[in-house]
């Protein structure tokens, strides 16, 4: 069994003579250089079809960093890419040598997606891009989840703007060991904050207390792992003994309405909580991420909410106006001119709903009669946005599609392209989180 760290440049160790700084620089440089390469390398490894000769990266890790070695690495990357290409064609033959072990082959199916970018660069069309953003989804129904979820927990989740990231599956994460994780993380934070001093795990001197807790009741299907809430609490510097601790950072890991096939395909050792939201000082965010990465061998990435997803949110939130007042639909576009022009387009909710109903294929009344599950199609979403944009064009003769939709907000919440989300109404929390879980799955490199 080769060591998985060999395929992760961020985990390679360098024997450097120039001390810590040089190593850090080399690592940063390598990471930047190999970002496009090591992802497929990693995917490749996990698939464990082709045994990468462990000598190649090992030799790199043993050597110091110089130009010659960089070139070696680059060519290694290309070699892997080429293998990727040739592999894809093998996979398409019907009698290809597919490994029969179920879990592995499922992982392989998923990892094909991550190779998509590589494959398209090589001019190949992957046949198995199974995971795409859904083109059709259920219209959100108002759900009263206050009886399922602890209202205190719910209050923590809503009315706060969260910065989202995706997380790859956590290795050997146990919902039963949350207390111990809390102790470890607080020790880790204390150690990082006062480098050089010895720190006792769980000691009294910790100024930062970390608590891990389960947000029960958010999970929708039996396969969804329960959401985990992480809170970092601290006492203000000059607080008295009996002053309560203040929450200085909070974050959560969640997975709602995820793809059951994928979850079942994971080996038992992995827990998939792909959606990570956090709020608080940047320093804490990076510390917590670093600890999670170290402890559960996962990686994080910025979760940007794409234009299409924002359009979905706009349409789905407008659809909610039938049940609860969303007040107005507010969208912001940024046009690429000098200086950048922001266009904020606010439509009254009643009128937006009328427009939405007019572009629906099946009017809501009809589906009520047939008692079918109400489904929303991507075409309807597109027509809705086009309607709004053409109304704008008719007045200003400015083409909004030349710019980017950067944010959408209603009384139910707001979403920004940079991956910030705020949910203001607990009734639609689950719906929004399941859409975001889906986006996180798409962004995840494996």
């Amino acid at each position: 069994m080769p060591d998985s760290s060999l395929c992760r440049p961020d985990k390679w160790s360098f024997q450097s003579q120039n001390g810590h700084e040089a190593e850090k620089m080399a690592r940063t440089l390598l990471l930047a250089l190999f970002e496009p390469i090591w992802r497929p390398v990693e995917a490749h490894y996990r698939r464990s079809f082709l045994l990468i000769s462990p000598t190649v990266p090992a030799s790199v890790s043993r050597a110091g960093v110089n130009q010659q070695n960089l070139i070696t690495l680059l060519s290694f990357g290309r070699y892997i890419q080429n293998m990727e290409g040739s592999y894809m064609s093998v996979a398409k033959t019907p009698h290809g040598s597919v490994v029969k072990r179920r879990s592995k082959s499922q992982i392989y199916q998923q990892s094909i997606r991550s190779c998509f970018s590589v494959a398209s660069r090589l001019g190949l069309t992957p046949g198995q891009t199974k995971m795409r953003l859904n083109t059709s989804r259920k219209a959100p129904k108002s759900q009263n989840i206050t009886d399922k979820v602890n209202p205190e927990h719910l209050a923590l989740m809503i009315k706060t703007e969260w910065q989202l990231s995706y997380v790859t599956p956590l290795y050997q994460f146990r919902h039963t060991q949350l207390k111990s994780y809390g102790r470890q993380l607080s020790a880790f934070i204390a150690a990082e904050k006062q480098q050089g001093l010895a720190v006792e795990v769980g000691g009294q001197q910790n100024t930062f207390k970390v608590s891990f807790s389960v947000l029960e009741g958010l999970a929708e299907t039996n396969d969804d792992p329960e959401t985990v809430l992480i809170q970092v609490q601290s006492k203000p510097l000059f607080a008295r003994q009996d002053d309560p601790q203040k929450t200085v950072w909070s974050g959560w890991l969640s997975c709602i309405n995820s793809n059951p096939d994928y979850l079942r395909s994971l080996s038992k050792d992995f827990t998939c909580l792909p959606l990570f939201g956090c709020k608080g000082a940047e320093g804490f965010t990076s510390l917590v991420k670093a600890w999670l990465q170290m402890t559960f061998d996962c990686c994080f990435g910025l979760l940007e909410i794409s234009q299409t997803s924002l359009q979905w949110l706009a349409a789905l939130w407008t659809n909610c106006h039938m049940e609860s007042n969303v007040q107005s639909l507010k969208m912001q576009w940024t046009l690429p001119v000098v200086p950048p022009l922001h266009v904020t387009y606010t439509v009254s909710a009643d009128d937006a709903l009328d427009l939405w109903n007019s572009v629906r294929k099946n009017s809501p009344e009809k589906s009520k009669r047939t008692d079918e599950e109400e489904c929303v199609d991507i075409e309807e979403v597109t027509r809705f946005m086009q309607g709004l944009m053409s109304h704008f064009y008719r007045h200003f003769r400015v083409d909004l599609s030349a710019g980017d939709l950067t944010r959408v907000s209603t009384a139910l919440g707001s979403a920004k392209r940079s991956g910030r989300i705020k949910i203001s109404n607990s009734r639609y929390l689950i719906n929004t989180l399941s859409l975001l879980t889906e986006i996180a799955f798409l962004k995840m490199p494996i």
Partner: protein, 345 residues
């Protein structure tokens, strides 16, 4: 010095950046050169405040003098706060011969007739602008100098720029202004922004305009024998045309830095592919806000790059043409034409 004077000075020192403090005090001319040297500007704001308080105490300065200092600072830095524009209408015969002394007297007397306990300070700036600072008081309380209203007016022009005005004082100020400038009415000009200079330039047309002409460039002689350049020419022509029309709509060169424009649309939704909405009687109510560090430049760039179709729609070119940045748009006739008009509100 009383409490209000001290508070005003404290607040003022906090507001003025340290590097501008010395110049502002120099312009003020209330302290002697020796006293000004006494203040050490390298120290913290708190220490500077204490030193200034001591010096002012020594000179026996009152809140009136401190208000002067504030005025000097605001005149020097007019691009702060939110400025609203009003337009004077129906000038009387003698409006054009109005002079500063006369205006000053009249304004002060009209305002004090309308409201007791008002402190007014009028100052003429080097660029002929008249700056008025008004501190409003209640019937039984002295003028509150901490929240003063600023009014800027150029004599013989119909525009008045106001910042920091409470709605309860608005009718009083407008009436005093109308009477003392010898006009019969005043109305909201629907133009507001953070930069007073930009608003003023826009209204007073102090930027480079381009006027539509039939022949934008000197007529070229038709002796070009090259024929395969037609495609290039076509592209270049279209591009040049867009640039010209963008310039005609918004002007050339530097444009006044207006930060936003708001349109309230109450027009019907019309789309041939969507019958249900087109047949609907009600208008689609929405609000569109354009914002940018300089919307006129942004919009000009939109038009010249083709993001906005040319010729530029009257809705957008109305911003520089009419000098407004707030519009309410309704359908002209609800059923017949697709013509849109702007209602004056």
């Amino acid at each position: 010095m009383d409490d209000s004077a001290k508070r005003l000075l404290q607040r003022l020192v906090r507001r003025i950046p340290t590097q501008m403090l010395r110049d502002t005090l120099d312009k003020w001319e209330r302290l002697t050169a020796k006293q000004r040297e006494f203040v050490d500007f390298t120290q913290s704001k708190w220490t500077i405040t204490q030193e200034l308080l001591a010096v002012c105490e020594e000179r026996e300065l009152s809140v009136k003098h401190i208000a002067e200092l504030e005025m000097i600072y605001v005149i020097g830095n007019p691009n702060q706060g939110m400025w609203h524009t009003f337009q004077l209408v129906d000038a009387e015969d003698d409006a054009h011969s109005l002079e500063l002394v006369q205006f000053k007297e009249q304004f002060k007397s009209h305002l004090s007739e309308l409201k007791r306990n008002v402190a007014v300070k009028i100052k003429k700036n080097t660029d002929e602008a008249i700056w008025i600072r008004i501190a409003w008081g209640e019937t039984f309380s002295r003028p509150n100098h901490l929240k003063a209203t600023y009014v800027v007016h150029y004599l013989q022009t119909p525009y008045v720029f106001v910042s920091g005005l409470l709605s309860k004082h608005k009718p009083l100020l407008l009436q005093a202004l109308t009477l003392s400038t010898r006009h019969q009415g005043i109305k909201d000009a629907n133009l507001s922004g953070q930069k007073l200079t930009a608003i003023r330039d826009l209204l007073m047309r102090q930027y480079q305009h381009v006027f539509p002409t039939k022949y934008p460039s000197p007529l070229a002689e038709r002796n070009q024998s090259v024929s395969n350049l037609h495609i290039e020419n076509e592209q270049a022509e279209a591009s040049a045309n867009r640039h010209r029309m963008a310039g005609e709509a918004f002007g050339n060169g530097m444009l006044p830095a207006l930060q936003s424009a708001v349109y309230k649309l109450e027009t019907k939704f019309r789309d041939l592919t969507n019958e249900t909405m087109t047949e609907r009687d009600k208008p689609l109510r929405c609000v569109v806000k354009f914002s940018s560090p300089n919307i006129l430049e942004s919009l000009r760039h939109c038009a010249s790059t083709g993001i906005a179709s040319t010729p530029v729609t009257p809705l957008l070119s109305s911003i520089p043409l009419k000098g407004r940045n707030y519009f309410v748009i309704t359908d002209n006739a609800p059923s017949a034409s697709s013509q849109m008009c702007q209602t004056q509100d």
